[in-house]
């Protein structure tokens, strides 16, 4: 029995949020595959980043050792998560910050909304953060009459386009420059109606649009890439300077942190600050990294520690290493499935290979997410690219088994069992083949294969072969 008197088998509760698909992957993928523009945009972007990443990874003679250390540090975190979180809390508190704990998305949203309300502000600026995307914070704030302004360029493109993110690092990766120009022209207040699609001009437009907001914002909301337990230091890794603006200028800073983001020691950052930038944007170092411990330079600082399905993930010995993830998105960029379907098909804000193992674990085996572990050819490119060595292919197979166990005896499983029994005995198999010959006239009727029924899913992507006039065995005997 566990602490709440619940049987241990029940385990920690699943989370809820924007990591549950609203339709199965094969359905969403089919629509995405038909979008030629999307496939061109993704093919171009992922091949660019793959080339850059390979170059800067090859440059480090000790990449393999860094990767081993990164994985080991994260495993250390998962084995002592309680201690490290308590240590982090004590150090952040000692330096003037306030630490809040949130069991799930609703609780985190409530905490943040209340903190913003206290300031009297009706507008907040946001640094790109997967955790706040996951819990739907912007929507929760909007319900409370608070407008959240995304300041990362790609997030801004998604927000202005009333779109959904499709990549962990570059949420607007599915858009090309001319689509972005069209969104800016239509939705960005005060933008030049003649705005060109030159990336420099688009970045300039975003700079002008956001600058006034940065200089007047009272409250900022961020996530964080790392939180050091032994010092209380938080780190945000970014490129544009929107992160620095949000972390530095507003008088109140609220950071939402997934509990698995804690690292034990300050020294551990020497590993992740080499692994992360090279894996994510393919640079030796990202333009800006900000670090702070507690409330500094006259700012009020709140840290919200978020569970939302992470402890449920921790409870699965063969699934928990998904919590090592540092959100670099290297696995997305090398994945042949992601490259063709894009992120929206996964339905979760965590798409691609890591999303296929993380989303169904955070959400619990939700029927809508059960197709995600199958959204892979198990080629293994993700495992090779992962800077913290998450064995995604093995985890996918494990999760497929969990899904199948939860589904019970499906028609497919039943058919396979019957087939196995039949093929085990040569005389049974011979009899079946002869019987199958009788169905030859039916095979002309193509619509028969399209009929709804227990095997319709199986037949949707496979042709039903016409049984031959004579089986190989019969031919051999008659020879």
């Amino acid at each position: 029995m566990s602490f709440l008197g619940m049987p241990d088998a029940a385990g920690p509760p699943a989370g809820h949020g924007h990591f549950v698909a609203d339709q199965p992957f094969p359905v969403a993928a089919e629509r995405a595959l038909a979008d030629q523009q999307l496939r061109r945009n993704l093919g171009h972007a992922t091949s660019t980043i793959r080339r850059k990443r390979a170059g800067v990874v090859a440059e480090l003679p000790d990449w393999a050792e860094l990767r081993t250390a990164g994985a080991a540090i994260k495993d250390d975190v998962l084995a002592h998560l309680d201690e490290y979180l308590e240590q982090l809390e004590a150090n952040v508190t000692a330096r003037g910050g306030t630490v809040h704990w949130a069991r799930d998305a609703d609780e985190a949203n409530r905490i943040v909304t209340d903190l913003v309300r206290v300031t009297g502000s009706s507008e907040v600026v946001k640094v790109k953060s997967m955790a706040t995307q996951e819990i739907g914070l912007n929507e929760a704030l909007a319900e409370a009459g608070i407008q959240a302004i995304e300041t990362d360029l790609a997030e801004l493109i998604v927000q202005l386009g009333r779109d959904r993110p499709s990549h962990i690092l570059v949420p607007a990766i599915h858009r090309n420059r001319s689509e972005i120009r069209d969104i800016f022209r239509a939705e960005m207040a005060g933008v030049d109606p003649e705005l060109s699609d030159d990336p420099g001009a688009l970045a300039e437009a975003a700079r002008r649009y956001l600058r006034a907001k940065f200089l007047s914002a009272e409250v900022a909301i961020s996530g964080a890439n790392f939180a050091v337990a032994e010092t209380g230091t938080l780190a945000v890794v970014e490129s544009e300077g929107n992160g620095r603006m949000c972390l530095t200028l507003p008088r109140t800073l609220i950071t939402v942190l997934g509990i698995e983001k804690v690292v034990p020691r300050w020294q551990d950052l020497e590993v992740f600050l080499q692994l992360l930038p090279r894996s994510s944007t393919g640079e030796r170092m990202n333009p800006y990294t900000s670090m702070w411990a507690g409330a500094i330079e006259g700012q009020a600082f709140h840290l919200v520690l978020l569970d939302n399905g992470r402890t449920a993930t921790l409870a699965d010995p063969r699934g928990r290493s998904a919590l090592r993830c540092i959100r670099c998105s290297a696995c997305l960029n090398v994945c042949p499935v992601y490259e063709r379907t894009g992120g929206h098909a996964y339905g979760s804000i965590y798409p691609g290979p890591i999303g296929a193992v993380l989303s169904p674990q955070l959400s619990g085996l939700d029927p809508a997410n059960n197709s995600l572990p199958f959204a892979s050819s198990l080629c293994g490119a993700c495992f090779d690219a992962c800077p913290v060595a998450i064995d995604i292919p093995s985890m996918l197979i494990h999760l497929r088994a969990r899904v199948n166990q939860a589904n019970g005896r499906t028609p497919e499983a039943l058919a396979m069992a019957v087939l196995a029994r039949t093929m085990a005995r040569p005389e049974r198999w011979r009899m079946v083949l002869r019987l199958a010959r009788l169905t030859r006239p039916l095979a002309r009727l193509r619509w028969l294969a399209r009929m709804p029924g227990p095997l319709s899913g199986w037949l949707a992507s496979r042709d039903l072969p016409r049984p031959p006039r004579q089986s190989l065995r019969d031919w051999w005997d008659a020879r």
């Binding site: 002592h80 309680d82 620095r244």
Partner: protein, 196 residues
């Protein structure tokens, strides 16, 4: 009802493994001094200006600012007086609006990293609060050769994790449009590094 903290910690204790926790650190540890040429090359890869101040740092800084067409610059408290350039100087403290209007800032740094072309500011003397090196559109950074360390582990070991830290690798940039790098978004769009 249990409070969230108690409940989350209990969930963790019920779920977490008793695993081995040793971290093998066989990667390259701190190596000490960094190569100046490599640092200069890596900084310029980010399309930042790199200048080697032979002789008088003040004259070199003045020359760089003139070439950029700048005749006013914000100077943080504690900046070495012998390095001050011959332009109009706006001393800290400065209001946000002034920072924005002057649009140029001059700072020192805490450490620099050769392998990644990174400079780290820790809000100490000559660097000022974080917003000082952020709001102006132009940043001139003075680096002493002995501040250049070999790699990231050297910098982590040399820095104080309790200070506000800003790691800077080139000017502000984005890769958000088709994953191509474009310099200049919200931070300083032009970065000059002067090695003195």
């Amino acid at each position: 009802m249990t409070d969230a903290r108690t409940e989350i910690l209990a969930r963790i204790r019920a779920a977490q493994p008793d695993g081995p926790t040793a971290v093998p650190r066989e990667y390259r540890q701190a190596q000490g001094a960094g190569d100046l040429e490599r640092f200069a090359e890596r900084v310029s890869d980010y399309r930042a200006g790199v200048h080697r101040g032979r002789g008088d740092p003040s004259a070199a800084a003045t020359e760089i600012l003139r070439a950029r067409g700048l005749n006013r610059i914000v100077v943080p408290t504690g900046f070495p007086t012998q390095w001050l350039p011959q332009v109009e100087l706006v001393f800290e403290p400065v209001e946000l609006a002034t920072l924005d209007a002057v649009g140029a800032v001059l700072t020192t740094c805490a450490v620099a990293i050769a392998e990644t072309g990174t400079v780290v500011l820790d809000a100490g003397p000559g660097m000022g609060p974080r917003q000082l090196s952020l709001v102006p559109d132009y940043h001139l950074l003075l680096v002493r050769p002995e501040q250049i360390l070999a790699g990231v582990p050297d910098a982590v070991a040399a820095l104080d994790p309790l200070r506000p830290l800003t790691w800077i690798s080139g000017p502000s940039a984005t890769s958000d449009i088709e994953l191509n790098r474009v310099e200049g978004v919200h931070g300083p769009r032009t970065l000059d590094v002067l090695i003195v």
